[in-house]
Amino acid sequence: MNIFPENVSTYGQEIDNLFWLIFAFVAIAFVISLFVLLYPLIKYNRKAAPKAEYITGEKRKHFKWVVVALVLLLGSDFVILYCEHDAWGQIESVPAKADVKVGIIARQWNWIFVYPGPDGILNTADDVIVDDMNSSLHVPINKNVVFELRSQDVIHSFFLANARFKQDVLPGRTVVRWFNLTKEGKYDISCTQICGVLHSKMRNFVMVESEDKYKHYIDSLYTANGRKTAMK
């Protein structure tokens, strides 16, 4: 059994790897600490050791053990920091080449998706806005999808567990992020920032499709919005 949900993004594996790297450090530290805590409880309990030794711990030869442990801890912390640095930069910055652009707007209590119109440019008059609880976000497989996150009312948070991606959406700001999803299917989008009574129901899906299917979906949007597009 995998403790994480299935990963379907290009950068998700780095998050999982990071978890196991930290887990290795934590496991070692836990076992050592547990020994340091439990061993004296057996070895130096009142029955086994009726007389305590007078050690203030302020002498260098005693306190050095604490210092050694702290240096090791600090060292492993910085190893972790070093190892995670690339992944952070990758997830939190947008790649130079954006294959697809899309707008995601949070509103109490749904996600609204904005696709560029036939001109291919987002935030122009011919954009197609899909504001419907039952319509998922359609994206093509293995493409860099760059999205602009906005909120119309309160703070929400866009969470796609299968991509290991999360981003708070504060009203008044636009955050640009990206993902590249590598497996066709339907994945939960949830809101992870409490946003009101139907916060629990603020769920939608990402639909990862083949290039053809995706094109077909976008075309169907254009036809449905035919008149609006023509007016441009």
Partner: protein, 587 residues
Amino acid sequence: MDATLHKQSFWSKYIFSTDHKVIGMQYAIMGIIMAGVGGFLAYVFRYNLAYPNASIPLFGHLSATQYNAFVTCHGMIMVFWVGMPVLLSALGNLLIPLMIGTDDMAFPTVNMLSFWIFFLSAVVLLASFFVPGGAFGGGWTMYPPFSAGGYVNHNPHFFTALFSGVSLMILAVALELVAMLMGGINFVVTTINKRTKGMTAFRVPIVVWFINIASVIFMFSVGPLVAGAFMLLFDNILGTGFYDPARGGDPMLWEHLFWFFGHPEVYVLLLPALGVLAEILPVFARKPLFGYKPIIYMALVSAVLSVLVWAHHQFVAGIDPRMATFFSIGTILISIPFAGIFLSFMATLWKGSIKFSVPMMWVLGFIGLFLIGGLTGLFLGSNTFDIYAHDTYFVVAHFHYTLFPDIFFGFFAAIYYWFPKFTGKSLNAGLGKLHFWLTFFAFNVTWFVLFFNGLAGQHRRINDYSDFSLIMREPYITFEKIATISAIILILSQFIFLYNLFTSLAKAKKGVKNPWESNTLEWVADSPPPHGNFQTYPVVYHGPYEYSLPGEGADFLPQNVQGKNDTNNVTQNNYEHKTATSFATHK
């Protein structure tokens, strides 16, 4: 100076008392009552999580609005109305004057005022459940613009806005902070000015040091939050727009103000409890505290660092990604002094002669649980892993593994240890051990399984997961049930404690002065100490942890007893004891 003689009416003795011990107990009792409220809320929403839409015994059906309000108030209450009064106010009031060898706080009337403002704040908070719309349900972090009006009450009138759940909660928090501020000033002034003869800075017990450091951290970080809270209140009742971008504000401002206080607050809660550990460990290991001075220095370093890490709560909030590394490094650095303090505590056990008394068991349980809490913090201090884990049950489990031992194990350790001093009676040890083991196991079962739910992507503050395929599968559904059943056992176990408390209080006073054979000054006073504490002020000859000192007859050497190595020439305080005579005029 016979303090027991002067007559006081019931009101001035137990209700509007200026005696630090009575005020300390008032804080402790209020903390226990509020813990009951917070625990009941937890029971209700945990039941709902395991059995969605079921009718909850002792409550009934829980709506989504109520769920949100209950989760919010549970967090609020446990931090501000249980952790703070119990760890900072109760311990600070009960212990500081006795441990530094004086009669009372520097400002007894301010102290009384502090408690009554605190009491008022609790009343205001509880009242918010009964206003139209009910208590606020936007999370204990109260992020605007959700909490900033308009979305809670559409187009409200002034009074409707004022008597809304959100406004009352803001007011209650602001009042609570004012009360704590008064207490904090009192602790610091008392410790600096009223130490008895010979009680130099480095002879002051760790718990007094730590309560003082916690107070200073609190005073340093609380200002921006109080200001921020009033801005939030104005957004609600006056229609300003400090946090609402629709009216020219920015919600990120609140996030910064909140966490600039919110993170240091963690240490405000942690330090006094660590102080309790430092007092109890040497007594039951019969060995000096390992590294008394380094522990103080490490706490001072952590106090400075504590105000430099707040934005690690905002890694995914949209702050500049480059800023995250700075706050990650800060978070790593601040874990070091605390790891050092815990290691020193564990080192105290080595080559000791350990007695598993009830207070000692709570202390050891505390260290064990905090080990898990601290180490899981390593995952979250990493800004990259936090992208995934933020606002999932992994975070919730992590902070329960730190705050639960901190608040409850710390408090229970303190109660079982100091109960004989403040009542002259003793708690039943068998029931104490039963209470400990049930609490320890039930807590672990409840929260350990939820780490896995978090890793599976379960996000928090959701009353109904039926829409989420990642959560609505095994073993996570079963884990929810296990957590709930075990949480109910955890809550029920606390009745053992209450039973023990009341039956012990009903017993006759024995008045044993120093049952654990401890060194600190509170054990020199009578049990319970009379108003004014000491018949004659004790004189201090050495530090607080002289256990098993070779060459002494007994394996402990109270601070007021001159040891073979102590000079007759007691180090003079810069601050001569001024209150020795002023107490006489008090009666």
